[in-house]
Symmetry: C2
Subunit: 256 residues, 2 copies
């Protein structure tokens, strides 16, 4: 049975894709068969691992509406043990077309059930905003990791995020648990960042991961080369932080 982890936060630009891609790559490189699922029509996770979303013969959109069976793409040439279910802009149509479908919130959950035995970890990248796609992602997952920037506007949105997780647990996915909150793009020099960290600790206590994912230009360059940070710059601060973070996630999944 795979651990299915959603990387989710309605707030935009907080590092969901960067965390999904680099966590998946680190889990894969330490020997765990891992599937990355790109539930964002922007297809950022797809291009961040070097897959061209325009050339896809099948996409998540066709799989979710039942036209194709899921067919993960292996990335073994550069990233052993890593597969991806890629997406493209067609997925944006799912938002409006899902509306009248049977079981519209559980489409992804039933797609992943058929893949459950093949992988140890399935990492779901979700879009910003509360939408049918992000609801599908939370309904399919066992656990949620919430990336948060150490910024005021991102902190303000956290109460929405936890309220959404609770609503999904009550109505669609009773097993859904918050695995933890991880601070992204951390720059320890600013007073604002220190205040936000203290605030997070006060509200979420042990649910805040110890690893802070530091701000580093290398991390924002890596997607333009289609590589996760551990392949692009293995000795960089970003690679060390994501490797450490993936160890914490493995440990938290075993304990939960």
């Amino acid at each position: 049975m795979a651990h299915i982890l959603a990387i989710s936060n309605q707030k935009g630009g907080v590092g969901k894709t960067t965390t999904a891609v680099n966590l998946a790559a680190c889990l894969a490189s330490s020997g765990h068969d891992t599937l990355l699922v790109d539930m964002d029509p922007q297809g950022n996770a797809t291009s961040a691992v070097g897959v061209n979303s325009r050339g896809l013969t099948t996409s998540l959109y066709r799989t979710l509406i039942g036209l194709d069976t899921p067919d993960p793409i292996a990335l073994h040439d550069r990233m052993p043990n890593l597969w991806i279910l890629p997406s493209n802009m067609d997925l944006a149509a799912a938002e409006l077309e899902f509306f009248d479908l049977e079981n519209r919130e559980r489409r992804l959950r039933s797609v992943l059930r058929s893949l459950d035995r093949e992988f140890e970890y399935i990492i779901l990248d979700s879009p910003p905003s509360l939408s049918l796609l992000s609801i599908n992602t939370l309904t399919a997952a066992d656990r949620v990791i919430v990336p948060v920037q150490a910024e005021f506007l991102a902190l303000e949105g956290l109460s929405h995020v936890t309220a959404t997780i609770n609503r999904i647990r009550q109505s669609l996915n009773p097993d859904l648990q918050l695995l933890g909150i991880v601070v992204t793009m951390f720059d320890g020099r600013t007073r604002l960042a220190q205040e936000v960290i203290q605030h997070l600790g006060a509200i979420f206590g042990p649910k805040v991961f110890k690893t802070r994912l530091v701000r580093s230009v290398r991390l924002s360059e890596a997607p333009s080369h289609g590589l996760p940070i551990i392949q692009y710059e293995p000795k960089s601060a970003g690679a060390i932080a994501y490797t450490q973070f993936s160890q914490e996630v493995i440990h938290a999944c075993e304990e939960a």
Copy 2:
């Protein structure tokens, strides 16, 4: 007749709210009656001008579904000539409830028609993702300003943004024009930023605003005080950049 400007980009966290709030504040402080409309259920623009979204007696949600007439809140105590139509998390429900309503894409357009004569500028902050709310925003506007971070993932999404604007122009709003693209959170020291700037110039030419909105911690601190940057730190690099940008916008609106 007001100039109705949508601040829009499906990519999350690129500075839409920061640009909508600070542009509106600069237009207001140079004497133009300005209305800021918060079309994002996160309510970031609402809290960034110091309005408590939990205490609202009416909200944009009720106005859009026809329960209330629009009733802008004046912010004159701190920001003369500035009003806001605030929002709260109820607005997320509009996403699913609008679906069966008459004219679901034009709800905001008909709301603003009744306010058109009272303001010189109406600035619309939109949510990330392609959704009924962001489609409403583009259908209500005459012109669109697209904030872009000088980052690879943000650049990649630009083709989706221009495709969406073209689709809206063909089907829902024939007058919609791209006013321009503005670079946000600019940090000239990184090679990536320079490459992205060159790339933008090559594709969009004169449509790229000359002002670059520099990255500055003061800008991300200002929302926690409920103030735009020109009130929070009038002499900061962020305040100077947004003042300059608002002059460019006024000029571009007069020419278009």
